[in-house]
């Protein structure tokens, strides 16, 4: 006999709803549309109540810099949408310490409150997630 869950969903369905997702941003802003497309996936998954975390890896960390002048490039910047993430309950963001050092940045320079992990912790972080999307 399958156990009944308090939510009324079958155990399988509840298990599926719990599936957590890591989205990886690897590209600098304005290089191509992958950061924007990844952000759209984050919002869509959040609308389906999937827990979403974001990892800004390598050049992707530059996406978080303030004072970008997108209009000079006739592009749209992601800042407004990134700042709205908390409203979608997406509040789990990661960067790697080596990437901060490489660009001589500190977490205060970033537009989101990111957790800093080491390169060695990266594999363990990725392993925590059921689904990882890296466009």
């Amino acid at each position: 006999m399958p156990l009944l869950c308090p939510t009324g969903l079958s155990p399988l369905a509840t298990e599926a709803m719990k599936k957590n997702i890591l989205l990886i941003f690897r590209n600098p802003p304005f290089a191509n549309s992958s950061n924007s497309d990844t952000l759209d996936i984050a919002l869509a998954c959040s609308a389906f109540e999937l827990p979403v975390s974001l990892l800004f890896l390598s050049d992707g960390i530059l996406q978080l810099l303030n004072h970008q002048q997108a209009e000079l490039l006739a592009q749209k910047d992601l800042r407004k949408r990134l700042n709205a993430l908390a409203m979608y309950d997406i509040e789990d963001y990661y960067v790697i310490d080596q990437d901060l050092i490489r660009y001589q940045l500190s977490v205060e320079d970033l537009s989101l409150a990111c957790k800093v992990i080491t390169q060695q912790q990266l594999a363990a972080l990725i392993r925590q997630f059921d689904t990882v999307i890296n466009l």
């Binding site: 599926a16 709803m17 599936k19 997702i21 191509n32 549309s33 992958s34 497309d37 759209d40 996936i41 919002l43 869509a44 998954c45 609308a47 389906f48 999937l50 689904t131 999307i133 890296n134 466009l135």
Partner: protein, 130 residues
């Protein structure tokens, strides 16, 4: 095991989409199932019925359609990625007042919610990105 496939790379400038097609075939041959194939980003260009492939090259759209009809694949194309690249079905062509539609029969335009649904419903979601 239930798989879903997310394709992001361009079929014209990389091998990635061909890899996705082969992976999908291999999954089915091994007795697993495919919940959905989701086309996103540049990959939506492969869903146009206006593609003319040189005679000595393979037409990936036809390969997807052949596989889809044999395996009853659900092939969904991200509507916003498609419309901005000029890939329109009849309804979108009408809505945006365009003279013709060019989405190959066998693909469906829909939103990213279909990707979220695929992630929920599948044991593995495999991305074929850049």
């Amino acid at each position: 095991m239930i798989f879903s496939i997310l394709i992001y790379a361009s079929s014209n400038s990389s091998q990635t989409e061909q890899s996705a097609l082969r992976f999908t075939r291999a999954v089915l041959q091994q007795g697993h199932s495919i919940h959905r194939v989701f086309f996103y980003g540049e990959s939506v260009n492969a869903c146009s019925n206006l593609i003319v492939t040189p005679r000595d090259e393979t037409n990936i759209t036809e390969q997807w359609l052949t596989l889809a009809s044999a395996a009853k694949l659900d092939m969904v194309v991200c509507i916003s990625a498609a419309v901005r690249r000029g890939i329109l079905d009849g309804a979108e062509a009408k809505r945006h007042n365009k003279s013709s539609a060019n989405l190959s029969e066998g693909f469906q335009l829909s939103g990213l919610g279909q990707l979220a649904d695929a992630i929920i419903m599948s044991d593995r979601t495999i991305t074929f990105g850049n």
